[in-house]
């Protein structure tokens, strides 16, 4: 039994992030956006990375695709293992062949993410040609139309010759998705895919992502600040705060038995139907990441803060498939308290 478990555990992680740290530079300040993030993503699952703005979730996504580099930023240390290779050792050429083919990403704002002066058709076609140069025209056009079909476009011909500004927000995001899946990647990163869209379109897009995941056997990393969205769509949730993962658990676990005080505060702040207690907002601001304070980064806002939290930073405490970065989980400290 034990053997089976470890076997499946080993073969299931399509992406393994080990102790990743990254910083970026803004206004002559150094922002420590990622501080020792470790995370495993199982094949076929939908993993949500949730947290407030500025917690580092987008930087994490960008790091996986190697899009954090000088002069704007730098990956300081860590490994990103995918398909048996450490992506961070990639050179420019390696990255060019890898991105958009093995791992794809859709960004938050589909309008600014599409080139305004090129047609949709061209932007789709080039995605294919970048990884299969010299493809026959009819094969190419079949792939492109197919992608539009998969992203539920009714009139592909018209769409292909249109420019981004002629489409609606929902359509643009579907184009982004089409570009992302056209080369049949193994992993799709969706960075706040619905945040810029109308609420009515949000469900449409999320449903589409779900459908694509099923049809193409994708693994999906969903980055969001919306806990409800995470609850609806994700199998597991990694909660991030101040550049670290503070809790990682199944969705059901996060919502029923949150371990980290931050997660608990997040749960309290989500309005729940049929609940008598009103949501409780979390006071304070996330810390300024240009300077790293001593101790736990959540200590200033934590309702259950202890003395030790202010002087030393907690490591990750692993319990089965769950982990949380909090001294409350430390059996020794608990006893002392």
């Amino acid at each position: 039994m034990l053997e089976n478990k470890s076997e499946t555990a080993m073969t299931m992680n399509i992406l393994e992030i080990k102790n990743l740290s990254a910083e970026y530079y803004r206004n002559s300040e150094t922002v420590h956006a990622l501080r020792g993030v470790s995370l495993g993503v199982a094949e076929g699952e939908t993993l949500a990375i949730a947290g407030e703005s500025g917690c580092g979730k987008s930087t994490l996504a960008m790091s996986v695709l190697g899009l954090v580099y000088p002069p704007q930023g730098r990956i300081i240390s860590g490994e990103v293992i995918f398909g048996g290779k450490n992506l961070l050792a990639f050179g420019k050429h390696d990255w060019q062949r890898f991105r958009g083919k093995e791992i794809s990403i859709v960004f938050q704002d589909p309008f600014s993410s599409l080139n305004p002066v090129l047609t949709i058709g061209e932007q789709l076609a080039e995605t294919v040609l970048a990884h299969a140069p010299g493809m026959a025209k009819n094969v190419l056009s079949g792939l492109v139309t197919g992608a539009l079909d998969e992203t539920v476009f009714e009139d592909p011909g018209r769409i292909l010759s249109s420019y981004p500004h002629q489409l609606s927000g929902g359509q643009r995001q579907r184009i982004m998705l089409a570009m992302a899946i056209i080369n049949r990647p193994k992993l799709l990163i969706a960075d706040e895919p619905t945040t810029s869209l109308d609420v009515t379109i949000q469900k449409e897009i999320m449903d589409l992502i779900g459908k694509l995941r099923k049809d193409l056997s994708l693994t999906v990393i969903l980055i969001t600040h919306n806990m409800l969205l995470a609850k609806q769509r994700a199998d597991r949730i990694a909660v991030m705060y101040a550049g670290e993962i503070v809790e990682l658990n199944s969705t059901e676990g996060i919502f029923s038995r949150p371990l980290h005080p931050y997660t608990r505060a997040l749960m309290d702040s989500v309005p729940r139907m049929l609940s008598k207690t009103p949501p409780k907002a979390l006071a304070g601001q996330p810390p300024d990441l240009s300077s790293i304070a001593k101790g736990c980064s959540f200590a200033p806002r934590c309702r259950e803060v202890m003395d030790i939290c202010r002087s030393s930073a907690p490591g990750e405490y692993v319990i089965g498939e769950t982990k949380a970065r909090c001294f409350l989980l430390d059996p020794v400290i608990k006893i002392r308290k």
């Binding site: 530079y25 206004n27 002559s28 002069p71």
Partner: protein, 275 residues
């Protein structure tokens, strides 16, 4: 603010040069070895040497001294001309952008029309009618350079006008004049400063061109352009009369351009300045 200027290499060089120029202008009588109009007739068209560091012209006047006094001319023309155009341009731009409507239409049409004429031609025309003198030059340059600034100010005002704090000010019943000075102007100042700085350089170039053609500063006053004009007669005999005043113009205009571009890098929030 001063910190930022020091950090930016462009503006620092420009500012340094300008400060130097100002010192020269103020200390001219002290620095110049001779008086600007002093003629040394036995030593006409003398080569640069010990006695006259940069040579003399056809009336035996020391080139170096004339160049030193020329700083005053160039700087005063530059600043007065720009002062005039900034005044006109800012007022018109503020009014046009803020009030909109037919005021805006009229002003912008006027701007468009003026911009169609080759500036130099306009200046030429006006000066030809009036008597060429340094004052006329200053005024005319000022009167022909405001259109560009007006457009700039208007664009800035237009983008600011819809900002919430302006609307808030209006709602609070603040008078238009107060809105102008307290809320709009401080934000409009940045592009004005950049434009004005670059404008000084431009004005100096224009003045030297006019003086070169004989339509600007009149002899015996020493303007660099004018020196180039009289030097042209002896261009193959006395190359120093052509070389040095031109270098002076180049360095002066360059310093204002450097400062202006440097300021633009600093003041424009959208630019890729700093790191």
């Amino acid at each position: 603010m001063l910190n930022k200027i020091i950090k930016n290499r462009l503006s620092l060089t420009g500012l340094g040069l300008i400060v130097l120029l100002f010192c020269v202008a103020v200390l001219a009588p002290v620095i110049a070895p001779y008086r600007a109009d002093a003629q040394h007739l036995p030593r006409r068209l003398a080569n640069p040497g010990h006695e006259f560091l940069l040579g003399t012209d056809d009336l035996g006047r020391d080139t170096l001294s004339r160049m030193v006094y020329g700083v005053r001319i160039s700087l005063s023309v530059g600043f007065v001309a720009v002062g005039i155009s900034v005044l006109i341009g800012t007022v018109l731009g503020l009014i046009s952008g803020f009030f909109g409507g037919w005021v805006d239409t009229v002003v912008m049409r006027a701007v468009d029309i003026m911009l169609c004429f080759p500036t130099f031609f306009l200046i030429l025309l006006v000066i030809a009618f009036l008597e060429p003198s340094i004052y006329n030059v200053m005024i005319v340059i000022g009167l022909t350079s405001w259109p560009g600034l007006t457009r700039l100010v208007r664009a800035e005002v237009l983008s600011l006008r819809e900002r919430d704090y302006i609307l808030a000010a209006k709602l609070l019943g603040l008078g238009n004049l107060r809105i102008f000075f307290v809320h709009l102007l401080p934000n409009v100042i940045s592009p004005i400063i950049v434009s004005a700085t670059l404008g000084v350089g431009d004005a100096i170039l224009t003045e030297s061109g006019l003086s070169f053609l004989g339509l600007g500063v009149q002899p015996p006053t020493a303007s660099w352009g004018q020196m180039l004009s009289s030097g042209k007669e002896y261009i193959y005999l006395a190359w120093w009369l052509t070389l040095f005043p031109g270098v002076a113009i180049l360095l002066t205009v360059l310093s204002f351009n450097l400062l202006g571009e440097g300021l633009r890098d600093i003041l424009d929030p959208r630019s890729n300045a700093g790191k």
